[in-house]
Structure formats: C-alpha cells, structure tokens
Symmetry: C2
Subunit: 208 residues, 2 copies
C-alpha cells in the first residue's frame, strides 16, 4: 500500500490557500545564507512588496518534524517530560522528532515513537500539518495518531533524557485549559484527541 496520498493537500485546500493575491504577495528578489550554526540555518531575503518597496526578511530553514499521539488500548495516551533549554524548564509533550532529509512522515513517526517510548503501532491516522513560526521559520510539523501499541525497548540517542508516562485524555485537556501544557504541537494534538474520542472529527486509519 502507498502512504503517499495522505501527504498531499487536497485540491480543495490548495484552491483556498494558493489563490494568487498580488495585493498581498511578496516576491523574493535576493536570498542569502547568513548564519550556519550547529543546528540552526538562517536565511535573509530581500523581497519586493505589493507597493514595489523592498524589505528584508529573515528566517530559519527547518527540515520539518512529526508528532505522534500514541493511544494505548486502555484509553490512556503516552506523553513525555523533557527539558527544553530555551524555555528553562521541563515541558510536557507528545513524542516528536525531526524528519531526516527526504524522509516521509510515517517513517519518521515510527522511528521516533520506537526510539523515544519503545512502542510500535499497528495502525496510524494522519491528521495534517501545522506551521509553528510562520514569521521566522519554514517548519512544518506533521501530526498523526498511533494505536494498537506494543511495548518494546526504548532506544534514546546518546545523552538524550526524557521521561515517558501515561495519562488519561481528560487530564491532558485539563492541562491545556489550565496552562500546564503550553507546547503548541501538544496543545493542538490534545484538542484533536478530544475530537477523535468524541467521534466528531473521524479519521482514516491505515495499517502500519
């Protein structure tokens, strides 16, 4: 079976989001790579705005990421606690990781779920993509549910530290409401979890 079709935006979405809008569009005039860090790559662009004026833009080029919401057979979900340096605190998140160059979302999702939690999934449902920093990063995060989970051996990267735990979906939603969960991908995943479990936003499940 092919998973490729899940990945493509529907013609309907394209029609809504990709309409030409010369009154809003900027045209790239020049693009240069201005910083190459250990992890971050920054590009600077000169753009021509709708009124003809030139402006500068700067953004990070990112390889993209996947987040998985792992549904256990007992109704609980798997989550993680992980230290996030920019936030100076431990954050509560669903398992996630960066795409390798050219990697499809499902390959990455299977790998990250197995490495970070040890679990493998029998079925997957693709939710869609979100963009988390549209003014300064081209990052795309793919979201998916996994179910039919089987425990296995966690395989964290060298010097990767995170705690895996299980929690009831209603508690996750309460953490979103009260501001305990603030990571955007996890907040959005929590709302989708409620929609899925409530049966209002059904998804298409496929074997792994």
């Amino acid at each position: 079976m092919s998973h490729g079709i899940w990945y493509v935006a529907s013609p309907c979405k394209a029609a809504v989001t990709q309409t030409t809008r010369p009154d809003l569009e900027e045209i790239s005039v020049e693009s240069e790579h201005v910083f190459d860090g250990v992890f971050l790559r920054v590009w600077r662009e000169t753009v021509r705005m709708p009124d003809g004026a030139l402006a500068r833009r700067e953004y990070i080029k990112h390889s993209g990421a996947v987040m998985v919401i792992p549904l256990l057979d007992d109704g609980r979900v798997l989550m993680e606690r992980q230290w996030r340096t920019p936030m100076r605190r431990v954050m509560i998140e669903f398992p996630a990781g960066k795409l390798d160059p050219g990697e499809d979302w499902l390959t990455c999702a299977r790998r990250e779920l197995r490495e970070e939690t040890g679990y493998s999934a029998r079925e997957w449902a693709y939710i869609g993509t979100i963009n988390n920093a549209i003014s300064y990063s081209d990052e795309v995060i793919h979201l998916a549910f996994a179910r039919g989970l089987t425990a296995g051996q966690q395989a964290l990267d060298n010097h990767e530290f995170l705690e895996v735990f299980t929690v009831e979906p209603r508690d996750v939603l309460e953490w979103v409401r009260t501001g305990v969960v603030t990571d955007v991908k996890t907040v959005i995943g929590s709302f989708w979890l409620e929609k899925l479990l409530g049966g209002t936003w059904p998804l298409d499940w496929r074997p792994a």
Copy 2:
C-alpha cells in the same frame, strides 16, 4: 484596576511545571551570542546534561507576542490574510504582533488590534500563553479574546499589507479540521473559540 495579576502563572501551574528534575535538567555552562540579524538573534549554549556530558544548544531570543481573537457583536470573528515569506503563501490568522521590550500583553493587544483592524474592544478575556518552538526559540505567545468591538481607522505600518475579513466561528473550525488554517496560534485560538462559545471553558472578562 490592575491587569498584572492575569499575567502571573498560578501557584498550581508553577508546582506542576517547575518541579526540580535533576534526572532531566540541563545546566547552562556557557552562553554566547552567535548571530545578530536584522530581526533574528541567535544564542549558542553549552549545557551540562544529567549524565555530566556537555552538549550544544542553539536558539532564538524573542521578545514575545500577543494574539487576539476579536468577537464581533453579530457572532462573527475578525481574521486576516497575510503573506508569510517563510511559507511562500498567504496565511489565515487572528490579529497578532510582537511585544515591545517590557510591554504588557494588554497594551500590545490593544495596539495590534487597532493598528491591524481599526477596531477597539470594550472587554478582554486572557486565555494564557503558548510556546511555539520550544527546541529553538524562547518565544511566548499570549492569547486573549476581545469583545464589544467598535470599528475605527486601521493604521498599518508603512509597507504592511494584510486583508481583514469576518467569518463565522463554525467556518474557522472547519478550516482547522480540513487544513486550510495551519498557523499554530490561530489553530489553538480556534479551538478556544469553540470552548468559549460552547460554555465549557468560561473565562474572566475585564473592561479594557
């Protein structure tokens, strides 16, 4: 009246998120400013991990932002279409803008709402904060609802191009479900909008 108290995390949140976790925490050993662009500032840190090993981290220091969900008296909400260079397309968003250094969320929210849409609000309800790029940015986005709106004069910055439009909340949610709206702050605001209108997650309204 003071709006300061809205800003402070509750003791309850602090207890959950700020527990000391030496098995997960990284300690900053050295921090250096490695890139200063027109808009982006990148810092590199050397951190000591829980096992004593050293690692590098890189992230953007951001002044923070506010997003407003403006509720019109007729039940519709105000949204914007704006070109986003990193995404190479027009995005649908709720009004938002960056905090000036030291600025409180409400001052920024009032200013951005007035400049981008022309509207002023009679009442505000603070939702909370979200973090949109926890592995590479310290950005915090404050979310709030505004109601009792009065139309006025839009005051866009020089060479700022955006289109303001009105839409039914049910259509916004459908755009989230079908992937037309992918900007994380707008997706999260849309889910909160449904919770507010459904009466399940009530908020505290204050005069502007």
